[in-house]
Symmetry: C2
Subunit: 460 residues, 2 copies
Amino acid sequence: MTLEALRAAGVWVSTTAEDIAPRLTDWRGATGGPAAALLKPASIAEVVAVVRAAGEHGVPLVPQGGRTGLVGGGLPGAEGGAWIVSLERMRAIRQVDAAGLSATVEAGVVLQALHDAAAKEGCVFPLSLGAKGSATIGGLISTNAGGVQVLRHGTMRALVLGLEAVLPDGSVLNQLGGLRKDNSGYDIKQLLIGGEGTLGIVTAATLRLVPAPAARAVAWVGLHSPAEALALLRRVRGALGEAVESFEIMPAAGLALVLRHIEGVRAPLAGAHAWHALIEVTGRGAPEAMLGEVLMAAPEVEDAVVAASDAQAAALWRLREELPEAERRDGGAIKNDVSIAVADLPAFYEAVVAVMAGAFPTLRVMAFGHLGDGNLHLNFRAPEGVDDRAWVEANRVPVRRVLHDLIADWGGSISAEHGIGTLKAAELARLGDPGKLAAMRAVKAALDPKGIMNPGKILV
Amino acid sequence: MTLEALRAAGVWVSTTAEDIAPRLTDWRGATGGPAAALLKPASIAEVVAVVRAAGEHGVPLVPQGGRTGLVGGGLPGAEGGAWIVSLERMRAIRQVDAAGLSATVEAGVVLQALHDAAAKEGCVFPLSLGAKGSATIGGLISTNAGGVQVLRHGTMRALVLGLEAVLPDGSVLNQLGGLRKDNSGYDIKQLLIGGEGTLGIVTAATLRLVPAPAARAVAWVGLHSPAEALALLRRVRGALGEAVESFEIMPAAGLALVLRHIEGVRAPLAGAHAWHALIEVTGRGAPEAMLGEVLMAAPEVEDAVVAASDAQAAALWRLREELPEAERRDGGAIKNDVSIAVADLPAFYEAVVAVMAGAFPTLRVMAFGHLGDGNLHLNFRAPEGVDDRAWVEANRVPVRRVLHDLIADWGGSISAEHGIGTLKAAELARLGDPGKLAAMRAVKAALDPKGIMNPGKILV
């Protein structure tokens, strides 16, 4: 089928620059290569028709969700001629099953919409991140998204019970449904989760829900360093166990950026602290009291506040969730998303600061993230007074190289939750485990022999 | 390399019938085809040498753990000439990290040994099953084992943080380490988990631990039917949430078998009940009191006892864990392991009883299993007074066909936790999702083009 034939068959197709241009950039302002068309299939049958047509004509397909990715995975590559496949018209929430604790939704559903639908049934979909108003389920699955509740509930991979996807040859992986256990052969859907659209297009999923917590407590803590934060994490988990839902950290400079650039926020504590932790605990009984008690007795805590209302809790969370936006408004940065064994995180952070100070003496380090997952977002800023765009452009490659070499030495990952996309593909090829890379290439060639699915992403 | 060369290189090799014969049968008494040799590599380098040698000579390799599998996955096939590769000499527990809540162990470690090592550090490896004294970590990973704590902690897949394996071409997948998040490309290790040794040999893993619970409560409940058991499950989870670790059910006939065949056990309740549930709850505070309160107020409960000591709790668990052994001693059965959406389980069970009564009027149904996971072990026994071995032999294929057709109609799985092996390979080919099967075949051909890894298992 040609584009004309797809259009005649009822598929939404546009080839105008007006429609296509906005799809060539993403949230972080990156720009992709040119695209020949934008397609918005409204059903799995239409997705199958699109994939088959692309296969016939050797057209690259670029599946697109909310364009909130951070590694270029949702943008066309330089090869040109791509069809962008937006799943935005597949946005039905097919079922929310409160008794069975699952929801079946289409790929184009925005995360916030799923949160709202689950809340109406007294449930929670336990994955949240700053981009929840734009990010779609299909994109969140394809990138195995993390966010602020991984500590307790795991990444997207742990939340996908069933999956429906169109594979590169146009066949359908039909694994929807809420089976909690299924050992009937290789778990192929795991390849689509985190596959960044290079092995197929996710069209729908059955996701795990959890009961809405009886109560929650959110605290903001001032403390001295990541090492103290880790000690506090262990103390809080030791006392409250799996009730600890989130444990985020950010430095004073991060809080300052949010206070400078985001409207309607205010500093949660009176004094100044080198580091801050945001902790959420849920559970029966009185989690505020339990959390407050632990914090009162913790020698690591310089000062702390426990939210006294939902509005206060939301205000504390806003300080954390708006940090990427505040950073973006403040100027360019070389952004990184790394992970390390949790116990190693404080020492690794010290090593980063030392190594970077040696290699790039004027560079400014901004580190924040999900301490409980060993996941740091390490963003490197231009020296004070230097034009940040030019600096980022000039230093991106050597700075990342130094960081990634350090990560490799420490046995960490160069991408904890953002994925590889185009941004880190060369570094993955350079530093990835050779056995894993060879297996990845073999799987890609086997499932997508024509190389039409999101070419240039992950594997180069 | 030949066998001689492997032996000269230090690999443990035997070609004697005395050594090989015991490796050709498994726990359920099934017998595999002939094997040319038994090899016991003691290091990953030796496993690599064995896999390369097999590749050179086109020799089928059969990885073997504790031979407690139930679908023939660990036995050589009829093709002959296989090398059985036992991982039993790779049984080091390399690290138990209580602070980081992880353990790194070799494939040959027996589950009970990991339980013991974790307990010494105040932790729990939250996967347990009746065969824990023999089943090995490599086998548990390769079959994505389930067991009695899946309700809370998930199957083996949810517990594997990192994996080391030798792929069919002799390359090494080097993904050990306790990263909680790693989105650097396809998660290839997921193919090895539940791959039943057909895509490589697992040599070691980093596994998730959980803190030892402060306290636990175990209850035995008599009730009327699976529908009442489901209502009780929802009630208990509604009241106690994720503290509910296990929720198992068995019928009166199951308890009777255990009382008849297992020494030193006794009936937990004074009266007779059509069905029984075994519930375990862990947590802070007083879980016995909380569980007792919920059970007292539950109209589904006919009678119940909450264990007053660890010894009593162990005695209740023994009634459940010895059921497969009691069944085996009582005679042959056509064993099945199916799953269904949790909410559908009671109605599905009624359908099974009705359909089987129609198709095989004298067959006896024994159903037990993991209600909270939607997982029933459905074992069909010969009519009273009929020779069970002959009956099983004659009826295995048609009985399973009827059951599997019913499962397919209900959107369930023909293998919830036991895997496919040789036993269910033909039925998977007949009833599996065509898109998934095609992708599985493509992956197998890509990673194991010579077809040396555990041939005849899963895919036929």
